[in-house]
Every structure is written in C-alpha cells, then in structure tokens.
Subunit: 112 residues, 2 copies
DNA sequence: TAAAAATGTAACCATTTGGTTACAAATATA
DNA sequence: TATATTTGTAACCAAATGGTTACATTTTTA
C-alpha cells in the first residue's frame, strides 16, 4: 500500500474508520483495544490507524510498547464547512415540511 | 463497475465529484456542460454522475436527448450531523486560541 | 431524410483499497 | 533470562476505483 491522495474526505469514506473515530472521540485507547472492537484483524486496524494518523485525525502517544491513539478531529471542521455551505438544500426542505405540518395541523378539515 | 457500497461519504470522497456537486449547486446543467468543466473524458464524468445519482445527491431531469442534472443535497445533512457531533474538537481549540489572543492583547507586557 | 448532438455503456486497463497470514522487533513480566 | 504482550510490516490477494476508447442509441436539426 502506498497510501496516496490522503485527505480527510477519503479518510472518513470508510465505515470502519468512521467507527474508529467515534470510539477514540469517546476516549483514547491503545491499538489492541481498538482492534478488539472490530471483527477484522489487528493489522487491518493498524492500517486504518495509519491512514487516520497520516491525515491528522488521530495522534499516537507512544508509551512503552503501547501506542495510545487519541482523536484530533480539527480537520473534520473542513468537512463541516464544506457541507454547511449547502445547508440550504436540507434546511429549506425542512422548513417547508414544518410549514406544511403546521398548516395542516391548523386548518385540518374534519375527517367526517 | 458494479458500484457497490454506495453511500454519501464515499460519494464525496472523490474530488471530481465534490467539484461536480459545487457546480450543480450553483445551477443545473446537462451532462455535457458538466463534462466541459473537467479535463477528463465525458464517459468518466458520466460515471461520476451515475454514482452521485445512485446515492441521491443529484437528480436527472430528462429533456429530449439531454439530461439535466440538478443538485439534491439533502443527504449531505447526514455528513453535516456526523461531523458536527465532533464540533468540540475544533471549536474548543478555536475558543482557546481566541482567549489566548484576547489575553495577549490585553496584558501584553511591553517588549522593552 | 441525412447528419449532428447528447448520452449510455461495454470492454478494457492500471492503480488503489481493504483485507489476510506470517514473521520480526521492542518492551514488560514471571 | 525466558516468555508473553503489543505493535509494525512484508508479501500476498481479490475486488473496487477511476480512467480510457470504441461503438450504439435517441433526438434534434439542416
């Protein structure tokens, strides 16, 4: 694996990596502790951790033979900003729905 | 291409697809108009469009021989929510920085 | 009706991805 | 010191990805 084109969007495109992020956001764990949460092999997790480290989403604190992984999710802010620029696409729809429900509730004709 | 495991995270992991989204969010265009904005071939763009359509990020309105693509970015809301649950990871840092700058400005010792 | 335009898609290709097993290395423990 | 623990990584593999060219189809236009 050469791990090219590493960016935060690609990092979070894998569901396992998203779960790792969620786990580590809760509390730091060493690599084995992370691996134990998944049905796949430790080396596979090790690779995911490497990818997440490479794009700055987690930081490794070496402690003896253990590597403690902690979430450093600043760069998720970039994704947040990118998606938020399109917020109108779902909030408008939401508002329209709310409006509709409100009106429906207000002037609902008796179902006779 | 079998296009398996199609979800919004994977859809936006490709930079070309993110650009397509940005383009179409501005205004709908037919497939050729989209393809003309990129240095890659029309079939390549056609595949990207297909992927975006499959995961609901764009909608195709057929009009004669043309296919007008329009952005339907509701499902980006999912990504927004997912990232926002980790907001503290970058806003805290931001607050800390602001605080630091504010204090630095307030009580900055004269550099003598 | 013949030609042009817009698009889909098949067949192909190289690279990347995400997993595996096997082994090595460093550190901690009995 | 011998053994167990924690991790890295090499070598391998199948499938997915992102691109290409070539050709077919449908619709519009001259």
């Amino acid at each position: 694996m050469k791990e090219l084109r590493r960016d935060v969007y690609q990092a979070i495109s894998d569901p396992v990596r998203r779960e790792i992020i969620t786990l580590l956001a809760e509390k730091p764990r060493n690599l084995n502790a992370v691996a134990n949460e998944f049905p796949i092999s430790r080396p596979a997790i090790s690779k995911h951790i490497k990818i997440l480290t490479e794009c700055g989403l987690i930081h490794i604190r070496v402690e003896g033979r253990e590597r403690f992984c902690e979430a450093k999710l600043e760069s998720l802010g970039e994704v947040s900003e990118w998606t938020n620029q399109f917020k109108r696409f779902w909030t408008n729809k939401l508002n329209a729905l709310e409006m509709h429900l409100k009106n429906a509730g207000k002037s609902k004709p008796k179902k006779k």
